[in-house]
Amino acid sequence: MADLKTEFLGIFSPNPFWLASAPPTDKAYNVNRAFEAGWGGVVWKTLGEDPPIVNVSGPRYSTIQSNDRRVIGFNNIELITDRPLQINLDEIRQIKKDWPDRAVVASVMLPMNEASWAKYLPIIEDTGVDGFELNFGCPHGMSERGMGAAVGQVPEYIQMATEWAKAAASVPVIVKLTPNVASVVPPAKAAQDGGADAVSLINTINSIMRVNYDTLTMYPTTDGMGTHGGYCGEAVKPIALNMVAEIARTRETGSLPISGIGGITDWRDAVDFLALGASNVQVCTAAMVYGFKIIDDLVDGLSAFLDDKQLTFNELVGKAVPSVTDWQHLNLNYIEKAVIDQDLCIKCGRCHVVCEDTSHQAITNRLDGERHFEVIDEECVGCNLCVSVCPVDSCISMQHLTAGSDPRTGNAITDEKLTWTAHPNNPMRKSD
């Protein structure tokens, strides 16, 4: 089995799976259980100044579920730790002593004045933590007090606070970014400019889950009133992957190490983050939905995958980054058509109806009076909608046309690449 022992910023852990700063890492009891289950590290739930904040004693979480109540999306309004700092420090010190081979990183959230950072970071570092993660991401509650996402949305603040942290800390500093921004690259660049050793992303996304259909108030509420929370879980993974890839493929930020976060539930999700540029990953929601035991599949699945692909862990990191580009660089001469495997087709007709109603009228529904679903190459634009809705795995595939002409346009198939930047229809095209 491939070795998953990893080093991130000089911090070693037996595997690249850390529990993210969140309720699962709130106290020693949970962290002990996590390490017993096999987690490689934890980012301790965010520490703040004393006196500690107060959390609501009502619903802090809610979910979007399938009909069989599988959790798809998750929302929370819990704030940072609500325990006195000293209790947390004592527990961290003990945990680090009991689990010397595991990574323990302290998440911190402090007001925007240098004195606070200078005061608290050395105290925390004295527990033996392996690093700091600066929480510039939480979008609810703390942001109203000028911290969390309120910092993460302003690159200048990120750089300033990162500089303060770096000045006060001797262990590595990771800056945790908020996705509640137009582009994640400027915040990442600011963190880098402030001296951050790495960024971690994403934190949660501003969200309201739904309304209560009986009371027609938002749901859930605390004493009849609600507030937006932070959205996470499987549903946010694509948003997180894009942001990770954006940082990884941007020249100025491309060498900044990334800890990937956002909806990781099984080992394949981890492969996504790693291949798109993260060099370790953090998990929260999946553990909050299924418990710590999911680490078995994460470790086992990733290890087997690396064996299968004959890759080392470090070779996987960033492997897919070169395949991510801007739309304008896509080859417009490249033609694919959908092909339906008639032996696998169960004749539900979903591909037909969605193509007929919402796309290009490119799939039949009858042949000689019988239900029969087949792609009409003269109409198919290769959009992949049919593949996306087909309930049967591998029944519909996309086939690349390599010779002849495209039956839809009549244009000859060519190996010659044509991007929008050079396309004749583009009034801004660059002349060769």
Partner: protein, 434 residues
């Protein structure tokens, strides 16, 4: 049926009988229904809908279960099949909607459409939640002969369309075979009457029980007194075997015994034979065989003159009989009943051979089909059933027919409901044009 020491009541305790006659397919819980509803692929031009004789928009009603819109789901069902509640219980879904489900191709396990349909319709029918509104009164009056599925379906649709209806029902209770014929464990807790009450609650339908055609009124009178007539008279008489010994005591028409079983308050009081032989291969044969076994008969043999593929009973029903302890014999035809005064056995010829078979019997049930009662000789009849066109019109102007009494009827509740619906739509057109 008494008169033989082997025929007696109380073969099983009340608790055993209650367990044996509990709901054959218990209803889904809300969680079960939501999970099962999620399995529906929402097919284009759904094969299940095509396979449903009443054309219920099955993906449509399942989608509404998924979204907790049960009332809307029930309306989607009942607007095509007002007996959607009963059909959810008694339809041979394994040869109709569920056979057509594309999940069979994917994983050999169809969506449980019948149970989902029951989940959607039960609350509406049990709470008498009226989902239909009558059109403004047409001033027309239609006679419906027969209070079974065909007649009640026709009456309901006519009432919705604004016509007044009188239903002439030969029995003391409405519902036809839903009330008197179907196996008790398929429709527990008096559901047949609850459903009829729901159907009648639309208004505009006058029900006259104990009113059989030919017993006080004739078709010609109805044609004179009403603007249109619908005949849903069913097949009231049992076919005879035409063999020696058929008149012995203990040789019984299955439908009569089932009717008695359905109407009794305490099934432990029913007379049950020790050795029971059922002749026939349809649903009625299965129903009487299984129910006899569940009432405590020791040996129940079901004998059919052809093979399993030709049986009117579905594969599921055949399996139900076998797992209930009924022995099924194929390719054997009854030659004669044995006995002196009371039947003691049946002799069979084994088809395409010189062999014979003899089964002991203290009760023999005849379940070889029914035939129409007389009184309709003025209409075109083929093979004992009324000839109708695609609008369920008979050969006589102003007279429609449907259900088991018409040519092409397949003896299913769901088909009878469809006949009644189609006839009502045709009658409505006729009345508005005239």
């Amino acid at each position: 049926m008494a008169g033989n020491e082997q025929i007696r009541s109380g073969r099983l305790s009340k608790a055993e009988v209650d367990e044996n006659f509990a709901d054959l397919h218990p209803p889904l819980t809300r969680s079960e229904a939501l999970i099962e509803a999620d399995r529906c692929y929402f097919c284009f031009d759904a094969p299940c809908t095509t396979a449903c004789p009443t054309g219920i928009d099955i993906p449509g009603f399942i989608q509404k279960i998924r979204s907790d819109n049960l009332r809307g789901s029930a309306h989607t069902i009942l607007r095509e099949n007002v007996m959607g509640g009963m059909c959810a219980r008694v339809c041979p879904t394994e040869i109709l909607c569920e056979e057509a489900c594309v999940r069979n191709t994917h994983e050999e396990k169809p969506v449980e459409i019948g149970l989902l349909q029951r989940h959607a319709t039960d609350p509406v029918i049990e709470n008498n939640d009226q989902l239909f509104q009558r059109a403004s009164a047409s001033g027309k009056k239609v006679a419906v002969v027969g209070g079974g599925p065909a007649g009640l379906s026709c009456a309901h649709r006519l009432a919705v369309l604004g016509h007044d209806v009188v239903v002439f029902n030969r029995n003391s209770k409405p519902g036809g075979l839903n009330e008197y014929g179907i196996a008790a464990y398929k429709t527990i807790d008096n559901f047949a009457q609850t459903e009829v009450d729901y159907i009648l609650s639309i208004g505009g339908i006058e029900l006259r029980n104990n009113s059989a055609l030919g017993e006080g009124f004739e078709l010609a009178e109805l044609c004179d007194d009403y603007d249109a007539v619908f005949l849903g008279v069913g097949l009231a008489l049992s076919n005879d075997l035409g063999i020696d010994g058929e008149d012995l005591d203990g040789v019984v028409n299955a439908i009569e015994y089932i009717a008695e079983l359905r109407q009794t308050d305490d099934k432990t009081t029913l007379p049950v034979g020790r050795d029971v032989v059922v002749i026939g291969g349809g649903m009625t044969a299965i129903d009487v065989a299984v129910q006899s076994k569940r009432l405590g008969a020791e040996q129940v043999h079901m004998v059919y003159r052809r093979g399993p593929e030709q049986m009117g009973a579905s594969v599921f029903e055949q399996a139900l009989a076998q797992t209930s302890g009924v022995t099924i014999h194929h390719w054997a035809s009854p030659e004669r009943m044995l006995g002196d005064g009371h039947v003691t056995g049946v002799e069979f010829a084994i088809n395409d051979s010189d062999d014979g078979m003899r089964l002991d019997a203290d009760v023999v049930f005849k379940a070889i089909g029914q035939k129409m009662d007389g009184g309709l000789d003025s209409l075109d009849i083929e093979a004992g059933r009324l000839v109708v066109d695609i609008d369920q019109k008979t050969s006589m102007d102003g007279v429609w027919a449907g259900g088991d009494c018409v040519v092409g009827g397949d003896d299913l509740t769901v088909s009878a409901v469809q006949h009644g619906k189609i006839a009502a739509i045709s009658i409505d057109r006729y009345l508005r044009d005239s």
